[in-house]
Amino acid sequence: MIVGARQGKLSGLRQLVAKAMARELTGFLVPGLDIAHAQGLDVEAAGVRLVASPRHASVLMVAGDISPALRNAAAIIYAQMARPRALLVLGAGGLSPLPSADVTSELSQPGLIDGIAQLRIAFAEGAFRPEVTDFDAPMLHVRVEYTCPMHPEVVQDEPGSCPKCGMTLEPREASANDVDSHPHETHDHHHESHDHQHEVHNHDHGSHSHHHEAHDHDDHESHSHQHEAEDHQAMDHSGMNHGDMDHGSMDHGDHGDHAFMSMIDVTKDLPRSSDGLPMDWIDVPFGPFFPGLPSGLLLTLTLDGDTVAGSSARTLTENVALPHHSALEPLSFVARLSNMEPLAPLAYRFLANQAMENAAGIEITTVTARGRVGALERERITSHLGWLALFGQQMGFGWLLRRAAALQLKFRHANEQAIMALKPDIESLIKRLRRTPLLKSRNAGIGRLVQDNALRGPVARAVGIDNDARSTDPVYTALGFKAISRDSGDSLARLQVRLDELRQSLALIDAAGTIELFEPANIGLATGAGEAFVETPRGAAHLRLTLEKGLVVTAQLETPSTHHLTLTDSLTKQQSLGDALLAVGSLDLSPWEIRQ
């Protein structure tokens, strides 16, 4: 039986329909495709078609543990899905505020396949039920507050008149969970954007508590028309909000039938677009589950038509900072650091190991070092392939998405021989990308960055900065490592750098000749301070920690994405929507390694 079943008896015809639904499951993946691939899940192969809009999805798949913020967002997604809708949970812990899972399974490809098989049965039997329960969650409730059309700063919970001008206050929706407001609004924008705040977590736009609406269409009919305009003129890029509000209030006002209102007054406060026309701007949330963007990243773009006027990016993964005063066992510290980043766990694991070894003053053998190099480079390959898949999805380039994802899954746990066997596939992939038309014109000049020493990893190397932690590492230099570099610094250059690094990593694995994840050296009861740099797939991460009697007491971590996140605003400003998203995507941000 499915919690989100659709109302109705499972009659003969409906049984047929239910069977069809069971065959044609469409899934919305939480937290996202990149995580799924990194965890070795191949959803399409398991027979579920992934869709971009919750409205089109029949199954909400939650893969792994996600933060409360992400769960809230997922709950909004769930509320937008059309019934019958099911919830498939793969190895996740807490779900609230989401409803109880219809099917739970373990977080692995077999687990996924098994779960989907159960789901099909559940659909065939339980897609329709005589009585259905409405899904409800706090963040879906819409609170009505009252504000003065002339003085947006006046906001109160009950109707009344404005203390400043005595106008009748206008009702307005505000969400129960108020999210922090954006820094960048102009004054008109500010209160207008508040209308949008309650959509800010929302992948697909604008339907809080749609399920209140959707299941009683008649009630909906009745007030759809009086509402009809409300959002349109917030939505379209010129609805002059003040305009009708002023007038509306004048209707309420004592003086009579027709008062002339000046359009000049209406438009004079509006922000000016780059082409000089006063236009109203809207905030549109992209993420945290937006296809083609790193999952867990909430990018809010202020759109002026199809052009991005401003943006704000933050992560909803809610990874907390490392402990400062609570001492940790070495092993649990390592585990904690590597679990934090599902996209590159090994890199952080090695980071922790090296830092502790340095602190304890332990020398590791070349064999160990080479084994780690092999593993790290393999992870780099999988990570870059994962990025390529995301990149392909973002460009609507289906072939790249599927090909890169398939290769990524092959590489995940491959040993040296298997990796060498996969070499030709990588080569052909790269060759194919070089030959693809439109790819160059799509990426050349997009998201151009200037030299900036805070840049890390491929992003930095695409600008021509060589701050690759590997170039100073004797183990790597012994393997004949030489940092790759491009200079144009745009999305195309970042693509090329990553492609070159695929080759390079293959060569390094070949040179290292071994892939082994040695357990961290036993640091005994050592005491001391140490630090380490590891070149994660996204750039050099830096860890400084101090040990006391074999316990990790303090640790500071610097991750590449933390700085790259601050680049988004400059990269997206005054770009067209597609270019802006591509630019953000080409940074290969990992929201998981960013702390708040």
Binding site: S262, M263, I264, V266, T267, K268, L277, P278
Partner: protein, 103 residues
């Protein structure tokens, strides 16, 4: 008195009337343009009606309708050009606020 023409001619007249109303009453340039469009549409209906009922063998009638269509297009192009310019200049395409354009 030729009843065969009535449906078309009365339609044309009605559209013309509505257009006049719109062109005179609307305060917004774009709405005003819509009025003008309706006026021209009314004219076109009449033209076609006359061509069809009175001179079906002379293509000049249709020719005339084509010209009217051109006029519609021109009127819209220029109208919107002016609208954008006004909007950029003073942020308004309201008639009340175009007083300085009075001759």
């Amino acid at each position: 008195m030729t009843p065969e023409l009535f449906p078309a001619l009365i339609t044309g007249a009605a559209l013309f009337g509505i257009g006049i109303y719109g062109a005179l009453s609307q305060t917004n340039l774009v709405m005003l343009l819509m009025g003008v469009e309706l006026i021209l549409a009314g004219a076109m209906v009449n033209l076609v009606a006359f061509w069809h009922h009175l001179h079906p063998d002379t293509p000049a009638g249709q020719m005339f309708v084509l010209i009217v269509m051109t006029v519609m297009a021109v009127e819209m192009a220029v109208g919107f050009g002016v609208a954008i310019a006004r909007f950029r200049a003073i942020g308004s395409v309201e008639m009340e606020e175009a007083a300085e354009l009075k001759g």
